[in-house]
């Protein structure tokens, strides 16, 4: 049966109305019956059955709770009765067998052998949307990441706040990831996705460097990233700013979760991108020096930190030039924590109310253990 391996959109279930049954004269309502049967197996509640057993989570059909199975059990009894009476069983037409098999096979979804997006559930999802089921929304993840090209190379910048909804999960996380000694990548979106994707591509670049014996190029990293993200159709939620200097010069790219890329002289991504972009658009010019570049990047990130809720804490900067890379972790700390004394809390005696007192004497254990010499207690 090739059905489950083909693209679901191309698959067309043969309608029972296509071919008239040979025994139509015996059961005059055979067409209506078949139609009803078809409607039954494709009924909407079919797909919304609660899955009690997680092992059968991929399966839409639960034979234990399905009333039709009980009917089938009755049918078996009927068949046995007929056999006892010595009557011949009616031969099943091949069409109904095919229909039966297809129905059975739609019950258990086949996973694709290779990676990539599986289209098996698209039809079901479309159906559910038509019925009014709301698709779960996306969690806005907050970040401000920027990059710009200056006269000697590339400067990348990022804030250091990682959020879980309205909560700050990490006040000083690292968003500038290593790809190659001459290529770094800032990541916005789901932290796990950006980490995993950049680690994976960094590993691939290392192997490529060994194979070719050359320094990695920014376009290589770019192509590896975009083809991976495209393969996953935007479900790997990683928006990246990739920058580096190679033999062909300095390069800066942005990569979007669906796999599209831009090549720009300055770029911003994340929820604070508009705040940062306003700084770039007003102050960027070609031929910036290193100090000017770092200052502009810090200004842009600070704009994101102070004007966007999803970004905050400190500014990380990474300067990449030909032959040298400098990762300035926590280059600026515009949000210092003003603490009370480092001694911590101090409670004077008598401030805590004593409810009850119980004194237990600790006795020393004085039991001695004798070690017996020899003996055959433990034979090797």
């Amino acid at each position: 049966m090739q059905t489950s391996k083909q693209n679901w959109a191309e698959c067309r279930l043969p309608s029972p109305l296509d071919r008239p049954s040979l025994k139509a004269h015996r059961r005059p309502n055979i067409l209506a019956e078949r139609k009803a049967q078809h409607e039954y197996w494709r009924r909407p509640s079919f797909f919304l059955l609660p899955q009690s057993n997680p092992a059968s989570a991929g399966c839409c059909f639960n034979s234990n709770s399905d009333p039709r199975t009980k009917e089938k059990g009755k049918r078996r009894e009927r068949v046995r009765e007929r056999e006892k009476r010595g009557k011949k069983q009616p031969r099943r037409s091949p069409l109904s067998h095919r229909l039966r098999t297809q129905i059975r096979m739609t019950g258990s979804m086949d996973l694709p052998a290779k990676g990539g997006f599986s289209y098996d559930l698209c039809r079901r999802n479309d159906f559910l949307e038509k019925k009014g089921l709301k698709v779960p929304g996306f969690l806005k993840t907050g970040t401000t990441i920027v990059g710009l090209v200056f006269q000697d190379g590339v400067v990348l910048g990022a804030d250091t706040r990682a959020t879980e909804g309205p909560i700050v999960a990490d006040k000083n996380c690292e968003k500038i990831h290593f790809m190659a000694p001459n290529i770094y990548c800032c990541g916005a979106g789901t932290a796990a996705d950006t980490e995993a994707v950049t680690d994976m591509v960094s590993s691939q670049l290392q192997l490529h460097r060994y194979a070719t014996g050359r320094e990695s190029r920014v376009v290589t990293a770019l192509t590896l990233l975009k083809s991976h993200l495209f393969k996953y159709q935007g479900h790997v939620s990683a928006a990246l700013v990739l920058g580096g200097v190679d033999v062909t010069g300095p390069h800066l790219h942005t990569v979007y979760p669906h796999g599209s890329t831009d090549t720009l002289p300055f770029a911003t991504m994340g929820s604070g991108s508009l705040a940062a972009m306003s700084v770039f658009e007003s102050q960027y010019k070609e031929g910036l020096t290193r100090e000017e570049g770092i200052q502009l990047v810090s200004d842009a990130i600070r704009a994101g930190i102070f004007n966007d809720l999803g970004s905050g804490s400190n500014v990380d900067v990474c300067v990449i030039t030909k032959g040298k890379t400098e990762y300035l972790r926590n280059h600026e700390l515009p949000n210092p924590r003003t603490y009370v004394s480092s001694k911590g809390y101090s409670f004077t005696k008598g401030q805590t109310e004593v409810l009850s007192t119980k004194i237990t004497k600790i006795t020393q254990l004085k039991q001695k253990v004798e070690v017996a010499e020899g003996g055959d207690a433990m034979e090797e």
Binding site: D199, M200, S203, Q206, L207, R209, Y210, E215
Partner: protein, 276 residues
């Protein structure tokens, strides 16, 4: 030989308990170009000596003659060397690189079949990367040796494949100091202080036994390696005919390109071999 009827299938033991295909693989290794390695003792001075500074000054070229691969563990590192005899003078020797780096701190040299070596290098590099991605730690030398040996053993116990016709000398420097391992086609590996493989292996080993000392310095080790290679080489040795790789306490695998030296006073010029 009674073994002959068991010699065609790898996965069948002979009555004497040998896997004859592996013996044949070792013969293939033994007819390959010689390679050797020397490891220095960890007791000796771990800092590179100040006499490295004059190495920046070039001297006139001298020629070695040595066609053995040897690896030597020096006091503060490991040296691996091999002869690079090309089938014809028309071959572009810059395209042939017999010593390869597996990670920034582990290098490898071989004796035997070149194509098999390429496959093993590719697999080992990938395994080192996978180890790094899983544990976020650079792979220790023993782990990489074990995984490479496991690959080589796999090919002695599967259907339809033949064993690799190479023996590898893996040299590395990690937290346990300088290390040198030899991996055979059967998948067994040994740690050596100094070893040689390939043609002329017995002469080379005898020479190494005589010349090897526990607290050898790295430049002495390089010199010893070249002399050992010189022993078995027919013809003139020059920087085009041999390859030398070293790894020192800085844990970076590098190639030694000797452009110039005096025959009695050796100054290697060290170049970082991999653009990483």
């Amino acid at each position: 030989m009674g073994d002959s009827q068991y010699s065609f299938s790898l996965t069948t033991f002979s009555p004497s308990g040998k896997l004859v295909q592996i013996e044949h693989a070792l013969t293939a290794v033994g007819s390959g170009q010689t390679s050797l390695g020397i490891k220095g003792s960890i007791r000796a001075n771990p800092l590179p000596p100040l006499c490295f500074l004059p190495y920046l000054i070039p001297f006139t070229v001298s020629t070695f003659s040595s066609s053995i691969n040897c690896t030597i563990l020096a006091a503060n590192g490991v040296v691996i060397a091999t002869e690079k005899k090309l089938p014809s003078i028309l071959v572009d020797e810059t395209s042939v690189q017999k010593i390869q780096a597996l990670t920034p701190n582990i290098g490898v040299v071989y004796s035997g079949m070149g194509p098999d070596f390429r496959v093993l290098v590719r697999k080992s590099r990938k395994q080192a990367q996978q180890y790094y991605r899983l544990y976020k730690e650079h792979i220790p030398v023993t782990q990489l040796v074990r995984e490479t040996a496991a690959v080589m053993q796999e090919f002695t116990q599967s259907g339809g494949v033949r064993p690799f016709g190479v023996s590898l000398l893996i040299a590395g420097y990690d937290d346990n100091g300088p290390q040198l391992y030899q991996v055979d086609p059967s998948g067994s590996y040994f740690s050596w202080k100094a070893s040689a493989m390939g043609k002329n292996v017995s002469n080379a080993k005898t020479f190494l036994e005589k010349r090897y000392t526990e607290d050898m310095e790295l430049d002495d080790a390089i010199h010893t390696a070249i002399l050992t290679l010189k022993e078995g080489y027919e013809g003139q040795i020059s920087s085009n005919n041999i390859e030398i790789g070293i790894i020192r306490a800085d844990r970076e695998f590098k190639y030694v390109i000797q452009t110039q030296f005096y025959s009695h006073f050796y100054h290697p010029v060290i170049q970082s071999g991999i653009a990483l």
